[in-house]
């Protein structure tokens, strides 16, 4: 029986080395391309006929749009709505990536620290740029909140810096841990189905239930990731 961790192995599809750096097109990259293409295709298909009174197909993306719109509005206020497109893309990319990973023989790129970590760092840099643009030098107040005496600055500034830098790390670990655990569990239960022979139908029932649960977790984790990015964006836009 193969190892339950085998599914997370990155294998190059098209080998490519540039100046000693491996920039091969891997199965992870393929999964990303497929999920991105799937988002664009599904949205293009559903929004083919655009009318003021939406039909069923059109109301699905509209409901999603409104959902994220209200989320940003309630966590960052009106000022955050300018960055709607970024947050919306983030949500769709992670949600579709998570769900895509549940298909047999596919690859879950959201279970890799490298992929999600880069996304989180991107979100952090984006938040910093937005914060600096909105508050200019006042953004430096993030590192020394109002009401703290300057004598404490040598202690508070490093603490606030670590606090800021730990945000993308905690975002990444949460998503990656949830995805990895779910997939390992599915694989191990799958091994039981084969190993138990005639009694294999018992783990199959569990498997079916866990697949539904994993589908829920996949969307929930994308939602939590988006909510927390919204909260961090709100923090960047206004002082504590």
């Amino acid at each position: 029986m193969s190892s339950p961790l085998e599914q997370f192995e990155i294998k190059p599809i098209v080998s490519l080395w540039v100046k000693g750096y491996d920039i091969s097109f891997s199965n992870s990259a393929l999964a990303m391309v497929i999920s991105s293409a799937a988002i664009i295709l599904i949205f293009a298909l559903l929004l083919r006929k655009r009318s003021i009174i939406p039909n069923l197909a059109q109301s699905v993306p509209e409901a999603l749009y409104e959902f994220i719109y209200n989320l940003i509005k309630s966590s960052t206020g009106k000022a955050g709505l300018k960055y709607f497109s970024f947050i919306f893309c983030l949500f769709l990319y992670i949600a579709v990536g998570n769900v895509f990973g549940l298909f047999p023989y596919s690859f879950t790129f959201t279970s890799h620290v490298a992929a999600v970590g880069m996304l989180s760092i991107l979100a952090l840099v984006f938040n910093m740029i937005v914060g600096i643009r909105a508050r200019k030098l006042g953004y430096l107040r993030t590192f020394l909140p109002k009401g703290i005496p300057y004598a404490l600055a040598p202690l508070v500034v490093p603490i606030e810096t670590i606090s800021l830098l730990s945000k993308p790390f905690s975002l990444t670990v949460r998503l990656v841990a949830n995805m990895t655990v779910g997939h390992i569990m599915l694989k191990i239960l799958g091994g039981f189905v084969v190993g138990l022979g005639l009694f294999g139908f018992v783990p199959i029932v569990f498997q079916a239930l866990i697949i539904i649960f994993e589908l829920f977790i996949a969307v929930l984790q994308a939602f939590i990731y988006t909510v927390l990015s919204c909260i961090y964006l709100g923090d960047a836009l206004r002082a504590h």
Binding site: I159, E160, I162, L165, S166, R174, V227
Partner: protein, 99 residues
Amino acid sequence: MKKTDDIAKLEKRISAFKKNKEAQEQRGAQISPSTNAAKGFQMSIELVSAIAVGAAIGYVLDHIFGVSPVFLCVLTILGGAAGVLNMYRTAKAQDEGEN
């Protein structure tokens, strides 16, 4: 006579719908990551990640300045402080969301 009855009924339905919608909007404004288990998980991750990031920064600074393990010790402790601060802020945000 019948027409006014119909209009009164319609008005009732509209006002009921409006009330319902307002209540829904208020509920939608409170965003908190679902269950208590999720909250606990978030707290633990926040504490641990801050310590890990502090230690990592300390390790890198030690390598740059060649004063191992001064920065590692100091920044790990400060990371713990940052973790508690993160947890406190999350708890405060959740309290505000519930009230």
